[in-house]
Subunit: 341 residues, 2 copies
């Protein structure tokens, strides 16, 4: 599979043993390698290239939702169930609330889970600090590392607050949006977007008032969304049928509804495997990763050009005029590049 030019023996002296360790399933190596990715250590990209060539395409499940929806507890219970099925699990908890340089909320903290002693669960929190290419790129890299390590399932938990987090969770095979009872208004306001990314809804804290009506509202919105799609497609008999997002009631703290939620995930995965959507999703994810990396590299080049042309940043200029001037060499390069094809 390894067609990349980067060979494991060519890796940086510090990273080579870590990559070998990860491929041998050594937990400590995985932990250290992820730190290297987060810190942007020299040569980490080559390490990721090698790991990518050993990745098999592990199943990924994204869990997102507003702060306070109970995502962490739910993820813990999901891990328990997956372990009972003898699946090894990786968890990436993405924490965007620490965007300030040097700050860190979850990054250095090991979250206490019921599986802290279980060597077949690997839990990692990631914050925005450190990684040169931002949180999305780092998360993609860690998915490849956990995949190459041999995890059977990877859960990616994010707070659904910003564009970057959506980019991250969207990259998962199955996306679960955790909602709260009585979130009707918010859900209503967000419906276009939520319907767009959710494959499964978990109405968590379902022992609170309004859980059932929230579930009903979601189901109604899903039905309207499906009707719209059908009327837009113009094809009355479509095969294979579209996936209809499932809505499950859960009480994570009491471990209720978690089996149904896992079943919904499995049903979705089976559906996308059969329909060919899985291959499409993976293709989109690859493209998203390339765009993310390219965007980061272009930003570095852009910074170099801004540094070299501080003379444009004068009071008698304006930011758009300055940026248009600075983008000119890039634009010309792209025109040449595309013409040469």
């Amino acid at each position: 599979m390894n067609v990349s030019d980067t060979n494991i023996e060519d890796l940086d002296d510090d990273l080579r043993p870590l990559v070998k360790g990860v491929l041998n399933g050594e937990q400590l190596s995985l932990s250290r390698l992820i730190s290297s990715i987060e810190n942007g250590d020299p040569g980490y990209r080559d390490a990721v290239k090698v790991l990518h060539s050993h990745a098999t395409g592990t199943r990924t499940i994204g869990i997102t939702g507003q702060p306070g929806a109970g995502k962490s507890t739910l993820v813990d219970k999901l891990v328990d169930r997956l372990r009972e099925q003898d699946l090894t699990v990786g968890v990436i908890a993405v924490d965007p609330s620490s965007p300030y340089s040097g700050g860190s909320v979850l990054g250095d903290r090991v979250r206490q889970t019921s599986r802290s002693e279980d060597r077949d669960v690997f839990f990692r929190s990631m914050s925005a600090r450190g990684h040169v290419g931002g949180l999305a790129a780092a998360t993609f890299d860690v998915v490849h590392a956990m995949d190459a390590f041999g995890k059977d399932v990877i859960l990616i938990e994010t707070v659904g607050a910003g564009q970057n987090e959506v980019e991250i969770v969207r990259a998962a095979d199955t996306v679960c949006v955790v909602a709260l009872p009585g979130a009707g208004d918010d859900v209503q306001a967000n419906k276009a977007g939520i319907l767009e990314i959710a494959d499964v809804f978990a109405v968590n804290k379902a022992d609170f008032d309004g859980a059932k009506s929230t579930a009903l509202e979601l189901q109604q919105m899903i039905r309207i969304g499906q009707d719209l799609e059908r009327s837009n497609s113009g094809d009355p008999v479509e095969e294979p049928a579209n996936w209809v997002p499932r809505v499950e009631l859960t009480v994570a703290t009491k471990d209720e509804g978690v089996d149904d939620l896992i079943n919904a995930f499995d049903a979705h995965y089976e559906h996308i495997e059969k329909s060919g959507e899985l291959a499409e999703t993976r293709g989109r994810r690859f493209e998203q990763e390339v765009r993310t990396h390219l965007s980061n590299e272009l930003d570095e080049l852009g910074d170099a050009v801004v540094e070299a042309h501080h003379d444009l940043l004068t009071a008698d200029n304006d930011p758009y005029t300055a940026s248009e001037e600075l983008v000119t060499p890039f634009r010309r390069a792209v025109e040449d590049y595309l013409r040469d094809d």
Copy 2:
């Protein structure tokens, strides 16, 4: 002042009357022009260029903090005070919680404020939808529009959740972080970052338990931060003295502590005016705007290149190798460009 090549008479037919209206202080034109910015209507950048050339450098105050900290209520009270001083006010409420395409939480909603009838307060919510260059670029553009319109003070309210929101609030002359009583742990965890961006802290809901101890904790952290800075600078007698972030207790719902907060803002502004930091801040903001616009333009070019080279997105490749290949023409162009200088 207008040295930009873009003349008001050259603007798009739809935008020309709006820009003229904004410069004449017509509220409806401002509202429509902001919509054009949000929607990325053809020619909106040229409109912003013209407005920028008429901007005078209005004072901007950024208000940020976690969801639920009471930012909106506090902003309403601040507006009341500023109006009592006969200052005209623009408010931009940046809502990052609606990152999904087509979704909108605050965008179309007119927030009810006590000043809804006051023509000298202009309130605008902005969400991520629509604007081609993202929320940060749109917010910068709207600041220029409100400035050219003639507002005396512009308040920029954001939820402090993601990298982009920090980028936005950092662009303000004075940054106020709204904290909650008992937020000790969070604050502790975030201290490096919060100390970095906050010029003034408002411990809001100060009628709840723990407000005073939270204020004390913040003051302690500020002192430690200042000591560190002094010992790093190696200069025992530094003139002019650094700004020491102020901590104010507020109860926005009861209108308590708002005068002190305004006084703290004024003291900070006076300090940065005298020390020359204001000019530095404005320079940094200009540079930040150029980087943001350039980054958006480069992303568009990057997308075009990815589209044209889908052949690189194959299973035997990896995302880093593909992006390195795609960045090559850009890299060469920058090298040539910088060499030619």
